[in-house]
């Protein structure tokens, strides 16, 4: 199955090998053939995509195309897209047609991408397996009985299966990096504040960040150049110039250092994953990188701290869903209280309600200091420990997940078991530092992800390390068995 990168497609479009309309038709055909099994897409925007593709072809013909002009792309269904459904994987927004575009959406549209659809996700980005979606679970293309990870499971599955060359995602506790690890692709989360959150439906405002799901780090760099930047409409947007990430990928790594925290290699780490990670570190050694051991003594506190802070912020952010101005509304309520409580009871799924309840509790009178304030202090402890690593090393590395993809239904009854999946990714969100997961091997037949973590605004360094690794190895080129047949897509 042909799975071409954005860079390769861009070159082909510009030298006339194929047109954007041809690429878009191929993408739509693959989606149509694969989606009944994968369930990666909630909405497919076929007509609009062809209109955009023809416009892109005109730009290409005139010679004023950019590197992303005419490239098919999918947005996670958490980004507001004007005139198209934005559901966040929830019944609460199953009928919501956004009146405006998110900044990420308008920036990528201006860069010329062709939007083919909105991808499935855990409801309101809360989940690590894409099983909490109102629209049903997404399946992992490597094994259809397994989870692709979450919450950006639809985006990851779509890219891994070759339905689109790239997709956007969001990462609050690992929701880009973990699905990338489970599906054998590259998942990039920039520094908090690097990409605008305007129009990106809020889950936990101090943790949420938009990023990319692609085959390669080079493609992530191309997308990041278009997506990143200061936005006056996002009060947490960082006022920092966007470097030309694409031109910084090839710097040699000799003499640089990687720090590996010993806490990443605990008893919970699957042995197949561990072997693949250690082999990956050897590749960096061969490139002249010095590997040193570090310690993050409070790493284990990151899961409890996150599961106080994120639910607290979510309980506040989700209080806007009351059935009045938009979204699901319980019919025939007798009074306003019944309207609120029934709308919210019926509109939200079980995991979302659990997190709203947890968050409400930890913020309530009598508990705020013991839980929320304490969690914020622990957050400072963990962030400072991670940031201090960069006084000694250029990059911190380790596994993205403790195990490869688990089976659908395996952890849905036990929320705490599900939460513990995020043990290696969460500290990165607490500190707001950038991180990427790249494929580095297999545990049995399932992909394993290597996580690289950088200092604040160290995206260029991260992409450089990831790209140099991908030039030495071919894990990122391995494809899952085709989810569709060529016949079906003709």
């Amino acid at each position: 199955m042909e799975r071409l990168t954005v860079a390769r497609l861009s070159a082909g479009l510009r030298n006339g090998e194929f047109s954007s309309e041809e690429l878009t038709r191929e993408s739509l055909a693959r989606i149509e053939a694969a989606n009944p099994r994968l369930n990666a897409f909630i909405t497919v925007t076929g007509e609009e995509a062809l209109v955009a593709a023809r416009a892109a072809d005109q730009k290409l013909a005139r010679g004023n195309a950019g590197p992303l002009t005419g490239i098919p792309l999918a947005h996670k269904d958490i980004f507001c897209t004007a005139g198209t459904l934005t559901t966040c994987g929830s019944r609460m927004l199953a009928n919501f047609v956004s009146p405006y575009d998110a900044t990420v959406v308008s920036k990528l549209a201006d860069a010329g991408i062709v939007l083919v659809g909105k991808t499935n996700m855990d409801e309101f980005a809360m989940g690590s397996s894409n099983e909490t979606s109102y629209f049903g679970p997404v399946r992992n293309p490597w094994d259809l009985e397994r989870s692709p990870g979450g919450s950006s499971g639809g985006s990851a599955a779509a890219v891994a299966a070759g339905l689109v060359p790239a997709a956007t995602g969001t990462d609050t506790g690992g929701s880009i990096r973990q699905p990338a690890a489970f599906t054998g692709i590259t998942g990039f989360k920039p520094t908090y504040g690097r990409v605008s959150r305007y129009g990106m439906v809020a889950f936990a405002s101090s943790l949420d960040q938009a990023g990319t799901l692609t085959i390669t780090a080079e493609d992530a760099a191309l997308l990041m150049e278009a997506m990143a930047g200061f936005d006056t409409r996002d009060s947490t947007s960082a006022d920092q110039a966007v470097p030309a990430y694409g031109s910084m990928l090839d710097e040699p790594l000799a003499g640089k250092t990687i720090g590996v925290p010993r806490e990443f290699f605990d008893d919970g780490l699957d042995s197949g994953c561990e072997q693949a990670i250690r082999d990956a570190l050897d590749v960096f050694s061969d490139l002249g990188v010095k590997i040193i051991e570090l310690t993050l003594p409070h790493l284990a506190l990151s899961v409890p701290a996150y599961y106080i802070i994120a639910p607290a912020e979510c309980s506040s952010n989700l209080s806007r869903y009351d059935g009045i101005r938009f979204g699901y509304r319980h019919p025939d309520a007798c009074d306003i209280d019944e309207l609120y409580t029934r709308t919210r009871q019926e509109g939200f799924g079980a995991e979302v309600k659990r997190r709203i309840m947890t968050g409400t509790y930890v913020l309530s009178a009598g508990y705020y200091d013991a839980y929320y304030l304490q969690a914020q202090k622990v957050r400072r402890l963990i962030s400072d420990e991670l940031k201090r690593c960069f006084e000694q090393v250029d990059i911190v590395a380790g596994p993205t997940t403790p195990t490869p993809a688990f089976g659908l239904g395996e952890k849905t009854d036990d929320p705490v078991q599900m939460y513990l999946n995020d043990i290696y990714t969460i500290a990165v969100n607490l500190a707001g530092t950038p991180g990427v997961s790249i494929p580095c091997g297999f545990s049995g037949k399932l992909p394993v992800g290597l996580q690289l973590i950088g200092p604040h605004f160290g995206e260029a360094t991260l992409l450089n390390f990831a790209h140099r690794y991908q030039q030495q190895t071919d894990w990122h080129t391995r494809t899952p068995p085709p989810v569709f047949t060529k016949e079906a897509s003709q």
Binding site: G193, A238, P304, G323, F326, D337, A375
Partner: protein, 95 residues
């Protein structure tokens, strides 16, 4: 530390969620498990640590008090089910 059904009902009221009698036990069980997980934080010595609310050292950016958006009420109200004369219609609010 276990939550009681009464506490769960109180939290549900604060969050404007309706929890039925059948669902209460499941909430008590699952929320207790989550609170057991996060209890680990209580033992951490955080004296002299300032809470971290935001990962970047930023203070709230202020804007000049000049309007930049235009009124698009009709566009936004297309998503509302019950609108009358530009107002959102709701069931009875006061007894």
């Amino acid at each position: 530390m276990g939550l009681t059904s009464k506490e769960v009902q109180h939290i549900a009221n604060l969050a404007r969620l309706e929890v039925s009698d059948e669902q209460i036990d499941d909430y008590v069980e699952k929320l207790t498990q989550i609170l057991d997980l996060v209890d680990a934080l209580k033992k951490v010595d955080t004296t002299d640590l300032l809470p971290l609310a935001h990962p970047l050292q930023m203070s709230q950016r202020l804007l000049a008090d000049k309007p930049t958006e235009k009124n698009q009420r009709d566009l936004f109200q297309r998503n509302a089910e019950n609108v009358e004369q530009g107002l959102y219609s709701v069931p009875r609010v006061i007894e």
